[in-house]
Symmetry: D2
């Protein structure tokens, strides 16, 4: 059969990325306790295409995905991306896994354990002599408004918020470490299971620890600045304001090697 | 050209509904102040299909939508549905418009106005000698947890919540009236624009008015029970808990004519 | 600490359902080959609340979820729902698990295997002396338009479509069986991995097997009628039309014990 | 009342952006025929925050939005962004409006008109002496696979696809012009209303005009290269493959002033 994708193209336009997206696939991810965690990823895989090739052979992306049998770790991303690059015969290959990741968390007073979900992604780009990896985790937390607390006789509005931290690293930083940084710089963590004494604890913890999105952002940034294994970060804090039907947000991106990006 | 849809079918299976969905279309809706409000609807239109017809003529649905030039009111729903039924030559026709609807709300202290968005739908079913219309509105509000307030030294967790009220009516009930019922039975309304003195007001209003989802549901139900123009209702209250990454909800459906459904 | 939820309520309104929703949790599901498949569920759990109780103890829902350690099978649903009902001391308990489920499918010519994702839900309601279970699976397929094929010189528009089948059963029907029914009544199945000879096969299979959404619906209904273990079904076929930016759909619900619902 | 946001901050971290997001608001947009089109936008507004300020005054964003009474045009974006910058007393202000935009399109044979929805966004960034504006439009189209056509006896798989074009410009380029470029470089446009003779036309048009996502991308790029008013572009073509339950995509970003970005 004729290989239409493999034909020459004379439009003289090289393509940055061509590939497949929204591929839903079961994967296993290594966690900090050396266990493999089964989850479901949305996968995007693509390559650069030279100006004189008409198309990419899309089925090969799925074949590469199958070869790795769904085993995905931060450490394996370069190998997977390089294999993709080789199989597709491309200058650059890019692969992104986005997936829910669960960590068992203990309620602060009763110590009862339950799973909290964190949305994680690994994005790798591999060229012949270069490699780039961005690890991102989105952490649900609680924020309690300092202004509302200050000006009100009683109470203070608070709400669910999300701290999304993307990092580049030299030396492994675990998802669990990024989660800890985000949680301890919010007004309080969120938990799936809380008994009454736990609920009292987190209510008071948040009230005694009021934070604007700006505060959560800055203290998260300070923690990432202090962490030598992290060379670049991009933080976004989004708070689902309980007094509005819209969000408040703050964001900051910084390349520590250049001082700023 | 051959009319494939119009062919006879011998599988002897009548179809409940066949039609088009997720049609995004500009519409205008009459509001309580007699103004026409422009908005964007997601439209679903369908008919019943007798067992001996192979298919419905889908393009006619869009032609009917065009004929009404996007003018949609609670009062016009029967006419639109009946026209659909006639044009498609069907026993039953169903049409649903789902759209954002904006009401200008004044902040409680400064009186500054801003628009709040409410998600509304009208669903009509028309048969030869019957007509049914359900009007639904989803209202963002604030809930403050009575348990958290009671057991904590200071503060109480609160969050954005949504009260969704669906009703059948005898005599017109405005969207604005349903919104008012939902808002006044929550811990506090939400607003798009609040200055500092307003924020103080709603923070204290919520703190002095703690409500479980069960409380919001019951008081909304009492208000709908007292309203004679409403003959049937279905209420769902969903609270985006600020101490969890999941929701609390309560729901109740009741046909006032039968006592319960 | 005071038990605010446990207080008496005098509004005299019993609540249909109160509980927690959008709980994201890791689960394991038994598949037809007797393997446990790890996946991620969105869980909703609720109970009926008598008129004289102010609220439900929401944390108990999560404790029940933890007790079962995420092991979810069609056969275990009654046990889980009954346990929920007992722990919450309620007349009725309802629990719904919605999750992606993967089946390894072989490409039609090369036989290369890959995973296809199907969205599945189990919804159980348990009362003192009654139990109801609905199993639903959404199956991606291809539909090719008979009208477009008939009237055009060459080609025919085709597109991705979804067949959603919900059933009540007497005797176990596997998810895999419902998937097979939906796939074989469409123009062609979809696959995650297809090589060129497979692509030729499915293109021709779809072209030789044109189906309206009405056709897919009716043939799926015939198959469910013939299956004695199924006592009730609700089918919806939604086709993401390639010549429009909206969908065509057909739906049918039938209680085989009553002739119709 | 104390101005908590206005307090000094000593963490020495300047914030890139702080503001409000997911604000749903009615707006009016000028179209190419000099008519104002009413629609509903999701609005994001933010500013940079110096290291020594604790927070931004969030309510001022909404006040600025109200001042412009929802009148949004490409030409007015600089004025709106500059006003935001001034009112918030910031070095940089950013504002993004995302909204559905409708254009009346005539069916190719019958000439019957119907509205097609295009998702549009305007993103403006204003500094003291600089201004940047990106206009983006997402255009639904049909793609028909050249490989599938070539290797199959009859037919060819085709599907709904989306061409998203973002541009920077010198001199006004209308949304309508970007839509035209995307539509004419696909296998066929999509329409909301098609009668049988129109359906025959677009089926044959697509069959005679097979395009990979790579082809749509390259021909769209050639058209944008030839358009002198456009100085920068970012194109993404995503095809909802009818033989898979995942997408094929291609993307290309280019700064014409630098040769490449």
């Amino acid at each position: 059969m004729r290989d239409v994708q493999g034909e020459r193209d004379d439009r003289r336009i090289a393509i940055d990325r061509v590939g497949v997206g929204s591929v839903s696939y079961p994967i296993v991810v290594l966690d900090q306790k050396d266990n493999y965690q089964h989850t479901v990823a949305s996968v995007s895989m693509s390559v650069s295409l030279p100006h004189d090739y008409r198309g990419a052979h899309m089925s090969r992306f799925i074949e590469v995905l199958n070869e790795f049998q769904g085993k995905v770790t931060i450490g394996a991303m370069e190998l997977i991306a390089e294999h993709l690059r080789t199989v597709l015969d491309a200058s650059f290959a890019e692969i992104k896994f986005s997936f829910p990741y669960f960590i068992s968390r203990k309620a602060p007073v009763t110590g009862l354990a339950s799973f909290t979900r964190y949305d994680v992604s690994f994005t790798a780009v591999k060229g012949e002599s270069c490699f780039d990896l961005v690890t991102e985790v989105s952490v649900p937390v609680q924020t309690l408004c300092p202004c509302s607390k200050e000006i009100s006789e009683d109470g203070a509005h608070n709400q669910r918020a999300f701290v999304t931290v993307a990092v580049r690293m030299e030396g492994l930083v675990w998802i669990e470490e990024l989660v800890d940084i985000a949680e301890r710089n919010a007004s309080a963590p969120v938990y799936t299971l809380l008994k009454r004494e736990d609920e009292k604890f987190v209510t008071e913890q948040a009230y005694n620890n009021p934070r604007f999105v700006e505060d959560v952002l800055r203290d998260t940034a300070l923690a990432l600045e202090a962490e030598e294994r992290i060379t670049w970060y991009n933080i976004k804090v989004v708070s689902n304001e309980s007094i509005h039907n819209h969000d408040a947000f703050a964001s900051l991106k910084r390349n520590k090697k250049e001082g700023a990006q």
